[in-house]
């Protein structure tokens, strides 16, 4: 990890020190901007690296939910995979023959001060009043500047018309709630905005707010260890709010001042000295 704090990990013995270190990697940074107020919902996520086993279920769920195209081996070698959610794997430890592993699911972290937004010349990526960083596919002209300026590099570009050759029966696997993207546009994780909207419609009929746990993102739903938690940060009792303030929590690349809405919880290991 080049000595950078990316997928944080520690051992039980060093937990306290690590937590103190991590305190510097969360919360507001110095800024001249007046902080944006988010009334209503304020969507956020936590990903617990201690719980993640790297099973890839979240990735597969995301592909199925969001009509993410398969691009084939050749394109993947060219580094053009379309996965909105990827699982980064880092080897750690000093022993090369027997390394430890830290896994980190990474998708768009929905920065409050998103570097992708201000560089788009056509206003195709914008901020919602609930803090989602939204992609407007039909406005995108594909300058790819947003991707260049994204420090997490979670944006994916349709280099070719990946879905154009689908047959009618193949098209039936598409999720009807999610736009199928054409060639030349950028796309990325939306925090499953279609699920949020579905819940909003349902709750509006019932005339109440969306309750905690009512919106599950596809990755969250598929995660067998419940490492991914999503919810409304304006709800003080929500699980995600509690986890956001957890001692192990840190914001990825916090020093850039992007204020991501996704908070990671450091991986804590307790290795048996006889085995390790």
């Amino acid at each position: 990890m080049e000595g950078r704090l990316i997928a944080a990990f520690t051992t039980v013995a060093k937990l306290k020190e690590t937590n103190e270190d991590l305190a510097e990697h969360r919360g507001p940074t110095l800024t001249v901007h007046k902080p944006q107020e988010y009334r209503g919902y304020r969507w956020g996520m936590t990903i617990d690296l201690s719980r993640c086993t790297g099973c890839n279920a979240c990735m597969v769920a995301c592909i199925a939910e969001n009509n993410v195209p398969m691009v084939g081996k050749e394109q993947v070698i060219r580094s053009r995979e379309m996965h909105w959610l990827r699982i980064d794997r880092y080897f750690v430890g000093d022993d090369i023959s027997n390394p430890g592993v830290v896994l980190q699911p990474l998708m768009c972290v929905h920065c409050e001060y998103a570097p992708c937004e201000y560089v788009c010349p056509v206003n195709a990526t914008v901020h919602s009043d609930e803090g989602l960083n939204e992609m407007v596919y039909n406005r995108c002209v594909g300058t790819r500047y947003c991707s260049n300026n994204c420090p997490y590099k979670v944006r994916r570009f349709n280099f070719f018309n990946y879905t154009g050759s689908y047959t009618d029966s193949e098209k039936m696997v598409f999720n009807p709630d999610v736009t199928v993207r054409s060639r030349g546009v950028m796309e990325k994780c939306t925090y499953c905005v279609q699920r949020i909207e579905r819940a909003r419609i349902d709750t509006r009929i019932a005339e109440r707010r969306i309750r905690d746990g009512e919106v599950l993102t596809a990755c969250q739903q598929a995660c067998p260890t419940e490492a991914i938690v999503f919810g409304d940060l304006n709800d003080p009792n929500a699980k995600v709010t509690r986890l956001h303030h957890e001692e192990r929590g840190y914001e990825l690349l916090h020093e850039l001042g992007t204020r991501p809405r996704t908070v990671y919880l450091a991986r804590v290991m307790n290795p048996n000295p006889e085995l390790a």
Binding site: R86, V141, T143, N149
Partner: protein, 469 residues
């Protein structure tokens, strides 16, 4: 008493800007000669080679639009590559013209007269190549073509005025229009001269249309001079603004290696540097082939070498400051880009080529031999062009391919389409330039005459003064 004073003056004056016996008739003959003579074998050969290269360009453009940006080598960390490298390279080359014509005009530099037409044409054609890329590099160029302009549309969406790409649209289009007007305005009296001296009816008609009814009355000249000066004044800030804004495409991002405050001055200097290199590259063969050695003298070449030396040193300073700031800031990401990926990374060959071409090569111009030996100057100028292309590659690709999170790092490899575009634009540029040389006097004829008269007048005055006891 008179003689020694005169001698000292002559020594201080330097060599003449115009060589050999010259009067208006000779200038008319030599400068317009190329337009009226039948195209030679060399010209035709180069022209058809250029056309063939242009076909390569058209092919690459069609493939890009038909199949997608995937035909290029770009991928996800490296979202910009050849497209933007070529854009910045060409627009940089397009800086010498306006600098020579506008800024040197305002500073009353005598040596601009013989080369301004040439340099302006080069600017125009270079900006034309550059302007192709911002549209072509987008995923959906058919929308990018007009969505980037602010116009009231049914979508009720304006462009995003915070984006440097948006500013680019204004900067580049303004620059292109101003350069075109400036060049064209400068052409009018010469076009009229061509109209009047043409022997065929068709040529008279065509040149007549473009000469806009110029008769050369003193009223015409009066207005003309004012308009030319005003346009020069308008064009002057553009020399600085265009490349400043282009540099903001990078400096305003948060990417280490791009996010640098030194970028605007260093980009402008680099642009002038590469622009002069391109002028020299084209001028040395052209002046020989077209018989223009008496108006484009070694002293002109020498003056341009000095400009290259100066701007080259500013560029070197820019490099030094970038690295210093990366080290001094103690920012790990910056240090990684400047000292690891650039100096030791997989693209280090291009980095060292850039340092050699842009820093070592122009040092040649400290020596008189280096500025006078036409072959040395030409090779150095070509190398500087190569170096400036490498600079843009280093800035764009090496910064992108390894940024913040190591898991997304990847290499960039250009495809044949990328190379076709670079090669094709060079050929297209060359083709346009050959057409220019053939159909328009490459040296501003009327300005040369005026300049020659001024020189004779000055000389007369000097000698009068010198003769006074």
């Amino acid at each position: 008493m008179a003689e020694p004073v005169l001698d000292v003056r002559r020594q201080l004056e330097g060599e003449p800007w115009v060589e050999g016996p010259i009067d208006d008739g000779i200038l008319n003959k030599t400068l317009n000669h190329f337009v009226w003579k039948r195209p030679g074998r060399g010209w035709l050969m180069l022209f058809f080679l250029g056309l063939a290269g242009t076909a390569v360009l058209v092919n690459a453009i069609v493939i890009t639009i038909a199949r997608g940006i995937g035909m290029w080598g770009n991928n996800i960390p490296v979202g910009w590559a050849f497209g933007i490298i070529n854009f910045v390279w060409w627009i940089g080359i397009g800086h010498a013209g306006t600098l020579i014509s506008a800024i040197l005009l305002l500073f009353q530099q005598k040596w601009r007269t013989s080369i301004n037409r040439f340099a302006e044409a080069m600017t125009l054609f270079a900006v034309l190549q550059a302007a192709m890329f911002p549209v072509l590099h987008t995923g959906r160029p058919w929308f990018a073509l007009y969505w980037l302009f602010p116009y009231p549309s049914v979508q009720r969406i304006w462009p995003q005025f915070k984006s440097p790409l948006m500013w680019d649209v204004f900067a580049v289009s303004t620059y292109f229009i101003t350069s075109l007007l400036f060049w064209y305005l400068g052409l009018i009296p010469d076009l009229a001269a061509l109209r009047d001296s043409s022997s065929s009816k068709r040529a008279r008609k065509v040149y007549g249309i473009f000469a806009l009814g110029w008769r050369g009355s003193s009223r015409h000249w009066h207005h003309y001079k004012i308009a030319y000066l005003l346009l020069a004044g308008l064009a002057t800030p553009l020399v600085l603004s265009v490349h400043t804004i282009v540099s903001w495409d990078f400096a305003l991002s948060i990417l280490p290696g791009w996010h640098t405050t030194v970028f605007p001055p260093y980009f402008v200097a680099g642009a002038v540097f590469s622009g002069f290199a391109m002028v020299v590259t084209l001028m040395i063969p052209a002046r020989r082939y077209m018989g223009l050695k008496h108006v484009i003298t070694p002293r002109h070449i020498e003056a341009m070498c000095k400009v290259m030396l100066l701007t080259g040193l500013i560029v070197a300073y820019g490099y030094a400051m970038e690295h210093f700031a990366a080290w001094y800031s103690g920012n790990g990401y910056e240090e990684h880009v400047f000292f690891k990926t650039r100096a030791q990374g997989p693209y280090r060959f291009i980095y060292y080529l850039m340092l050699f071409c842009n820093i070592c090569v122009p040092q040649l111009f400290w020596t008189r031999w280096g500025r006078r030996n036409i072959y040395a100057v030409w090779i150095a100028a070509v190398l500087i062009n190569v170096g400036m292309w490498c600079e843009r590659f280093v800035i764009i690709v090496t910064s992108l391919h390894q940024d913040f999170i190591p898991s997304n790092w990847a290499m960039y490899y250009p495809t044949w389409v990328d190379f076709s575009l670079l090669f094709g634009t060079i050929c297209f540029f060359g083709t346009l330039f050959l057409l220019f040389l053939k159909y328009i006097p490459a040296v501003a004829n009327y300005e040369m005459k005026e300049f020659h008269h001024e020189l004779t007048h000055e000389k007369g005055l000097t000698e009068l003064e010198g003769a006074r006891p």
